[in-house]
C-alpha cells in the first residue's frame, strides 16, 4: 500500500489544466499560413503525396493533407505550418486554407444542428469505428481519455456499444470489407446521433483515395457533423473540435 502511495506521489500532476490554450511541445504542423509569393506552382503541386495542394490561389486542403511538411521545406517563404491545432470544422470547405488567409479554421455555429448542444452539451458518448484505420488515429483517440488529456472531464467518453452511444467517430478510409459493419454499427446507434470523421484517411481517403479496396458510399448518405484533420489527429485537435461542436469551445 505504502509503495503504491509512493508511486502515486512520484507521478506529480500529469493532467493538462486547460486543454483549449495549452501549447503543443516541440514542432507541430497545424494550420498552415500561405503567403502570396510567386513560386513554381507545378513543382509545389507535384511534391504533395495526397494532392492536397491546388492553385488559383494556392491552397491546402487539410482534409487531404498528411502534414508531412514537404511543401513547407521546399518553399518555406510560401508555406509555413503554425502550431495552431484547432483545425476542425463542421463545413468541409472550411478545411481549405488559401494563400493570404489569416483567419482560424472554425466551425460554422449556424450550421450546427440545434439539438446537439441541447441534448449532448453535458454528456456525449461516442462509439469509435475503425474502418481500415491504420491504428494511429485509434491510438490518439485512446489518448484523449488518458490522465494527461482526460477528456472525460467534459462528459465526453468513448463507449463499448453503439447502443450506448450518441454518435460514431470514424477513422480510416473505409474499406469495402468494413462498409457493412460500419452501417450496422450506425444503425444500432439511437437517434439523434452525430457522425465525426477523424483523420485525413476518413475525411478524404488520404493516401488511399481511389483505391479499389475502398467503399466510401456510407459518407454520401448522411450529413457529417465534424471533420477533424490530422495524420493522425492530435488529441487536442479532436478535443477542441468536439468542444466547439458542443458549443463549449473557446477561441
Amino acid at each position: 500500500m505504502f509503495e503504491d502511495f509512493k508511486i502515486l506521489y512520484h507521478q506529480g500532476k500529469q493532467y493538462i489544466p486547460d486543454l483549449t490554450t495549452v501549447e503543443v511541445p516541440g514542432i507541430f504542423r497545424g494550420r498552415p499560413v500561405i503567403t502570396n509569393e510567386n513560386v513554381d506552382e507545378n513543382l509545389l503541386i507535384d511534391m504533395c503525396p495526397t494532392m492536397a495542394i491546388s492553385t488559383n490561389p494556392v491552397s491546402i486542403d487539410l482534409g487531404k493533407c498528411t502534414f508531412c511538411g514537404e511543401c513547407s521545406f521546399a518553399f518555406p517563404s510560401k508555406i509555413q505550418f503554425t502550431k495552431d491545432y484547432k483545425i476542425s470544422s463542421n463545413i468541409r470547405e472550411r478545411l481549405i486554407v488559401k494563400a493570404g488567409d489569416t483567419g482560424f479554421v472554425e466551425l460554422d455555429a449556424e450550421k450546427i444542428r440545434k439539438e446537439i448542444k441541447k441534448i449532448f452539451g453535458g454528456s456525449l458518448k461516442l462509439r469509435q469505428v475503425s474502418a481500415a484505420g491504420d491504428n494511429s488515429c485509434e491510438l490518439e483517440l485512446n489518448a484523449t481519455g488518458n490522465v494527461n488529456f482526460d477528456v472525460g472531464r467534459f462528459g465526453i467518453e468513448f463507449v463499448a456499444s453503439p447502443r450506448h452511444a450518441d454518435g460514431i467517430v470514424i477513422t480510416g478510409p473505409i474499406s469495402e470489407n468494413m462498409a457493412e459493419p460500419l452501417q450496422i454499427c450506425y444503425d444500432a446507434t439511437p437517434a439523434p446521433k452525430i457522425i465525426i470523421l477523424a483523420g485525413t484517411d476518413a475525411i478524404s481517403g488520404g493516401i488511399f483515395a481511389g483505391s479499389k479496396a475502398l467503399n466510401r458510399s456510407f459518407l454520401d448518405k448522411y450529413p457529417i457533423d465534424l471533420y477533424v484533420p490530422g495524420n493522425p489527429v492530435h488529441p487536442l485537435t479532436f478535443i477542441n473540435g468536439v468542444l466547439s461542436l458542443l458549443g463549449k469551445g473557446k477561441k
Partner: protein
C-alpha cells in the same frame, strides 16, 4: 544451384534467381526448413506470362543470408502443398490460393486470408466466411467483432467453448484491407510511396518506413550517409520503447490494475512527445525518407532525449518493480496463454512473441542493417511462452533499448552537409528488406521491370506469422483470459490486411 543467396538489402538481378520445377521447388523450400535456424520470411505469387510465378524467401539465421528460389505454375491448377511438409507455410499458401485460385490438394486449412479486392473467387465474401464448427449440445460458439469494445481495429474472433473453456479459436481478418500492395505499383512518385509505407501500420511507422527506405535505396544502388542510418536505428529503438510502454499500460487495464494502467499510460506521453519534438508527429510520420531527412538529429535533440529519459527511467523502474512483484497481477499473467518453443518453431513465429517462447528470431541480431552491427545487440529471451513472458520481455526490452540509445547517441555521427542525390531504381532488380520492428520481423520485397518501374511490391508484417500463435495460445484457457492473451501479442490488423 536451386536458389540464390543474398543478404538483407542486397540488390540482385531478378533474372538471376533460379526458376525450377514445382516439385523441386517444394522439396527445396521444405528441405531448408528442416534446419531450425531457417525460417520463411516471404512466399508469394504474381502473374507472369499467363502463369503464376511463385517466389519463396527463406532466411538463415546462422548465416545471415536469405535463400531465394522461384517456380512457375498455371493459374487455378491443383498442386501438392509445401504446408504438408511444414506448417509454417500455411498462411502463405492460403494467400496464393486466395489470389490465384491455386488448389492445394493436401493443405489442411485452405481458407480465405483477407478478402482482397483482387481475390480470384469474387463469390467469396467477408460476410460468408466458412467458420469451423462442431455440432454438439455441450459446446457453444461465441462471436466477437469485427468491431470490438475499445478503440481498436476490427477483426472477428469465433470461439468454440466448452463452458468457460476455449477449445478452439478462429480468427478472421481482412476488414482492414486497403489494397496497399497494388497502390505501391499504381502510385509512381517516391513521396507517395513513402507515405504509403508510413500508413501500413500507424503503430509501426518507423519499422515499415525503414523497411521501405532501405529497400528503395538498395533498388537505386544508393548508399545512405551514416547520419541517415543512425536516425533510422535510433528511431526504431525509440518506437519500440514508446509502443512497449503503451502496451504495458494496456495490459494493466485488461487485468484491472488501475495504477499500472495510468502510470505506464502517462509514461508513454513524453516518449511519443519526443517524436513530436524531433519531427512534429507523435508517431514519427514524416521522419524517415529515402536518401534524405527533413529532421536531422541534432545535439539539442540529444540533450532533450537524455532529459526525457532521466525523468522516465526512475518512474518506469519503480512501476515495473511493483507490477512484477504484485501477486494479484502475476496470478493473471503466469501460465496463461502458453505457446511452447516447439509450437513457435512449427508455425514460424517471429519477433518479441517468439523470443518470449525461447525462440531466437531477431533481425537485429541475425540480419543486421543500419547501425545494428555496431550496437553489439544481445537479444532478451524468455522461456515460459506465457502472457507473463510476453509482458516481461517488453519491460526488459525497454531497458535494453534505452541502453542502446544512450550508446548510439554518445557515438552519434556528424550530420552530412549534403546528401547525395538519388537516381531511379535499376531495371530488373530484386531486393528483400528485413527490419526488426517492435512486434518483430518486417519484410518488404520488391521487383523492378526492364524499365526500372516497380513490378511487384510485397509486404509482410510480423502479425502475418503471429495471429495463428494467438489462436493456439488460448486453447484450454478460460475465455475471460482472452483479452490479456490478445493484448500480450499486440498484433496488427491493418499490417496483416494491407
Amino acid at each position: 544451384m536451386n536458389y540464390s543467396v543474398l543478404k538483407n538489402n542486397q540488390r540482385v538481378q531478378f533474372a538471376s534467381i533460379p526458376v525450377i520445377a514445382y516439385e523441386s521447388f517444394i522439396e527445396t523450400i521444405s528441405g531448408m526448413l528442416e534446419d531450425k535456424n531457417n525460417h520463411c520470411v516471404n512466399f508469394f505469387g504474381f502473374p507472369s506470362d499467363n502463369k503464376v510465378k511463385l517466389i519463396c524467401c527463406i532466411a538463415s539465421d546462422t548465416e545471415s543470408c536469405i535463400h531465394v528460389t522461384s517456380t512457375n505454375v498455371e493459374t487455378g491448377s491443383s498442386l501438392p502443398s509445401a504446408t504438408a511438409h511444414n506448417l509454417s507455410f500455411e498462411k502463405f499458401e492460403r494467400e496464393i490460393h486466395e489470389n490465384f485460385g491455386i488448389k492445394y490438394t493436401d493443405h489442411p486449412w485452405l481458407k480465405p486470408v483477407r478478402y482482397p479486392f483482387y481475390r480470384n473467387d469474387k463469390s467469396q465474401n467477408i460476410s460468408n466466411y466458412p467458420f469451423y464448427s462442431i455440432e454438439s449440445e455441450e459446446l457453444h460458439e461465441v462471436g466477437v467483432g469485427p468491431i470490438h469494445a475499445g478503440i481498436i481495429e476490427p477483426g472477428h474472433f469465433r470461439f468454440l467453448c466448452n463452458g468457460e473453456q476455449i477449445l478452439h479459436l478462429e480468427i478472421q481478418l481482412g476488414y482492414q484491407h486497403r489494397g496497399i500492395e497494388p497502390l505501391f505499383i499504381e502510385k509512381k512518385k517516391l513521396n507517395e510511396r513513402v507515405t504509403l509505407a508510413e500508413n501500413i501500420a500507424g503503430d509501426t511507422v518507423v519499422g515499415h518506413t525503414t523497411a521501405f527506405t532501405n529497400l528503395w535505396e538498395s533498388l537505386c544502388d544508393y548508399t545512405p550517409t551514416p547520419d541517415l542510418k543512425f536516425n533510422r536505428t535510433l528511431a526504431l529503438e525509440h518506437e519500440r520503447i514508446a509502443i512497449h510502454t503503451g502496451d504495458l499500460s494496456a495490459i494493466c487495464t485488461d487485468i484491472a490494475y488501475q495504477l499500472g494502467s495510468s502510470v505506464y499510460g502517462r509514461l508513454r506521453t513524453p516518449v511519443i512527445n519526443y517524436f513530436q519534438k524531433w519531427c512534429g508527429n507523435r508517431l514519427a510520420k514524416s521522419l524517415i525518407r529515402p536518401g534524405k531527412t527533413n529532421f536531422p538529429f541534432t545535439k539539442e535533440l540529444a540533450k532533450e532525449w537524455f532529459k526525457t529519459f532521466e525523468d522516465y527511467d526512475p518512474d518506469f523502474q519503480e512501476m515495473s518493480k511493483r507490477l512484477f512483484d504484485l501477486p494479484s497481477a502475476l496470478a493473471r499473467l503466469e501460465r496463461t496463454g502458453v505457446v511452447s518453443a516447439e509450437t513457435a518453431t512449427n508455425i514460424g513465429m517471429v519477433g518479441m512473441a517468439a523470443r518470449a517462447s525461447g525462440l531466437l528470431r531477431d533481425i537485429r541480431q541475425t540480419h543486421p542493417h543500419d547501425f545494428y552491427q555496431e550496437i553489439g545487440y544481445d537479444p532478451v529471451l524468455q522461456t515460459t511462452g506465457d502472457v507473463y513472458a510476453r509482458i516481461n520481455i517488453r519491460m526488459e526490452e525497454i531497458i535494453e533499448s534505452m541502453d542502446y540509445m544512450v550508446d548510439l547517441i554518445n557515438h552519434m555521427p556528424d550530420p552530412a552537409r549534403k546528401h547525395p542525390a538519388m537516381s531511379a531504381p535499376i531495371p530488373d532488380s530484386f531486393v528483400v528488406s528485413l527490419v526488426e520492428g517492435w512486434r518483430g520481423e518486417i519484410c518488404h520485397t520488391a521487383i523492378t521491370d526492364d524499365k526500372g518501374d516497380l513490378l511487384i511490391y510485397k509486404i509482410k508484417d510480423p502479425s502475418y506469422h503471429n495471429w495463428l500463435a494467438l489462436a493456439l495460445a488460448v486453447r484450454n484457457n478460460d475465455i475471460s483470459d482472452f483479452p490479456i492473451c490478445n493484448k500480450s501479442f499486440g498484433l496488427s490488423y491493418c499490417g496483416h490486411d494491407l
